[in-house]
């Protein structure tokens, strides 16, 4: 089948979803009121609360939520064939992610622009806030480990991308200082930075001397850390150490010095990447060579598919952005539909092109099966396949494939590095908050909290044992990342449902995706924890993953209990900002 038809199918579903389903949700369920005084107007302060044009806010929301995750998940999940992956991305986006992101914006808007954590405390109680804090902690720990693994893998597979990624750091610091000290726009300096980065990437693709290939520097692919003990590869270990040192420094700097300007450059990269891939698709019109359904899969697609693709179908992280910043800038409540639901559709488009890039990469179905020979092989080689597939799509625009692959590797690594920086920073704040809460002021200190965050993340990425010993099992963490992300989405959907119930409105449209997510999470974790990681039968025991999987199961059950308790107590009015017009209509 020609891949263009898949893109058209997805786009038509998204347009229909927006035109009809989101309209229904906006009018009948969330009952948006154009006269409601939004927090941006009620608390306008020129910093956090600023009424913003809906197109600008949509663009900001989309660039904040889109990153490497909606690429990695689909690139692994295509293992079961492109059809289940595309269907989950399309249906998940239309019926779950859209409603979730839209609901988070509306809920926060109706509660003075408060974030999901504060709303959990307000709507359900202190226990829910604690649960939220624990899930966020697990999520950011997973994010740190998974994205460090992603970057190290890409640096090893595409050594031409390293120079460009490291050049981005001084360029971002330069832009940060320039804008901070002299004001002005970041646009021109960031475009110059992007040109320098891409110039370096293209040069490094052609000149081997500019490629930082740690595999050859440290004794080849066979070199292991503990010779003869079948442990992780030396190049991988060195990259993890380098990344952890880097992220320690980056996450303790003020955000304007590195994180913010790099994020700005990355926003250009998102636009460049999407344009490159979609134009490449329409100019090349490639055939999908991956099977629509992989009949030879060694593990069933349900329930694992629903946690392998988290971002791109539904992601709890979006709720944090929607309630943390977006809701404070809403000019009119009715804008929430376009920004929340439309932002989810944008991420769905990114996930869809990731599936198409991998699905069109291989010369034949047999080649696909050889690379995606098992679920663990898919986890290990999925991202590399995406980068090569994306390079092939870019090749349709006249860019040599190896250069296209290097550019895409730079884009994905840049996204992952910014996510890593943000997640370590967030983890530091949570550790400090827990330290203050439990009377341990020592761990609330910046460098102590950062050290705990960095060391635990490094341990988590190195410890899981894969086919080649310790450190080669990083891909095993991906489903754990997916589940913790889905749990977070479950909490947001629960809060929206509780709020709707208290308003006397139908809850099925938010409760159904929440229950679906939680059941799939519970099912997938139960399967992995009991039959794989516990050492049941012939399986090898993996204590680390067993512990994390068990924790996630406990949290899932906790959410279900809290949800049922809240619904039993339904009808208790919540404190919320009074609208300027009759809210009950």
């Amino acid at each position: 089948m020609n891949a263009i038809w898949i893109a058209i199918f997805g786009a038509v579903c998204f347009v229909m979803g927006y035109r009809f389903y989101s309209k229904f949700i906006a009018e009948r369920i969330y009952r948006l009121d154009p006269d409601f005084q939004t927090p941006a107007h009620a608390y306008q302060d020129g910093v956090d609360y600023v009424p913003t044009n809906k197109w600008i806010l949509w663009g900001h929301h989309f660039t904040s939520v889109a990153g490497a995750a909606p690429i990695v998940g689909p690139a692994i999940a295509i293992y079961w064939g492109w059809l289940p992956a595309i269907l989950w991305v399309v249906l998940g986006t239309v019926f779950a992610a859209g409603v979730h992101d839209f609901g988070a914006v509306v809920l926060s808007n109706r509660h003075k622009g408060h974030s999901i954590g504060t709303l959990a405390n307000k709507l359900i109680g202190q226990r829910a806030k604690l649960l939220f804090l624990f899930i966020i902690l697990i999520l950011v720990l997973m994010v740190n480990a998974v994205f460090a693994w992603v970057i190290a893998k890409l640096f090893i597979t595409f050594p031409a991308s390293v120079l460009s990624v490291f050049i981005q750091i001084p360029l971002a610091v330069w832009i940060g200082y320039r804008v901070y000290r002299h004001s002005g726009s970041m646009l021109l300096p960031s475009v110059i930075a992007l040109a320098v980065m891409y110039g370096a990437a293209l040069l490094a693709s052609e000149i081997p001397m500019l490629q930082i290939d740690l595999v050859s520097w440290f004794g080849g692919a066979e070199a292991s850390v503990v010779g003869g003990f079948n442990a992780t590869s030396m190049a991988f270990l060195v990259w993890i150490v380098v990344l952890m040192v880097y992220v320690y420094i980056a996450s303790t700097l003020p955000v304007w010095k590195l994180l913010q300007p790099r994020d700005y450059i990355n926003s250009h990269q998102l636009v460049v990447g999407l344009a490159l891939l979609y134009l490449g698709l329409f100019f090349g019109a490639p055939e999908m060579t991956a099977p629509s359904v992989n009949g030879e899969a060694d593990i069933s697609w349900y329930p694992l598919l629903f946690i392998t693709i988290a971002c791109g179908a539904i992601s709890g992280f979006h709720g944090l952005v929607a309630s943390g910043t977006t809701s404070k800038q809403l000019d009119k409540e009715t804008d929430a539909r376009m920004i929340g639901y439309g932002g989810a559709l944008g991420e769905g488009m990114l996930a869809m092109i990731a599936i198409i890039a991998v699905g069109t990469l291989f010369a034949s179905g047999a080649d696909f099966t050889a690379t995606y020979s098992s679920f663990s092989a898919a986890g290990s080689s999925g991202l590399g396949s995406f980068v090569k597939g994306a390079g092939q799509l870019a090749g349709n625009l006249g860019i040599p494939e190896h250069m296209g692959s290097t550019l895409v590797a730079v884009i994905v690594v840049s996204f992952a590095a910014t996510t890593l920086d943000t997640a370590v920073r967030l983890m530091r704040y949570i550790i400090a908050e827990l330290g203050t809460e439990y009377g341990m002021p020592v761990i609330a200190r910046k460098h102590v909290a950062t050290s705990i965050a960095v060391i635990s993340s490094a341990a988590l990425v190195i410890l899981p044992e894969g086919p080649n010993g310790f450190g080669s099992g990083g891909y095993l963490l991906w489903p754990l990342f997916g589940t913790s992300n889905q749990l977070l989405a479950g909490i947001t959907l629960m809060l929206v449902s509780v709020w709707l119930k208290r308003q006397g409105r139908p809850v099925v449209f938010t409760l159904a995706p929440m229950l679906f997510l939680l059941v799939m999470t519970l099912w997938a974790m139960g399967q992995q924890v009991i039959f794989t990681w516990s050492g049941f039968g012939d399986a090898d025991r993996n204590l680390l993953l067993f512990t994390f999987g068990s924790l996630i199961m406990v949290f899932t059950l906790w959410i279900l209990l809290e949800a049922s308790r809240s619904f039993r107590q339904g009808g208790v009015p919540t404190q919320q900002q009074q609208p300027s017009s009759d809210e009950s209509r």
Binding site: I56, M186, W256, Y264
Partner: protein, 98 residues
Amino acid sequence: MSRADDERTASAGWRTRVKRLIEGYDSVLSLQHRREIIRELQDEEDLFMLLCFCDMMGIPNPVGDMTLELYPYMLDRFHEWHQRQGMPRSPLDGFRCC
């Protein structure tokens, strides 16, 4: 209107549209960054104001005589500062900005 005038008007229209597009794109990307920069600059400003007014809050100020001379120049900034600190009215008797 001559043909040259038509072309000039059309070209100006295009330039305006492209300019608006670039401004819109910049606004999308800089929304988050603008907020962080404002917050950082405000933190710096708040620290500076605290150093200037610390003796009024019971903290000895070794250079009080010199910072006193700055007060007339800081009236507007002082007003913004005390409002940011959660005090809607000026907390100082001899320094009534509002």
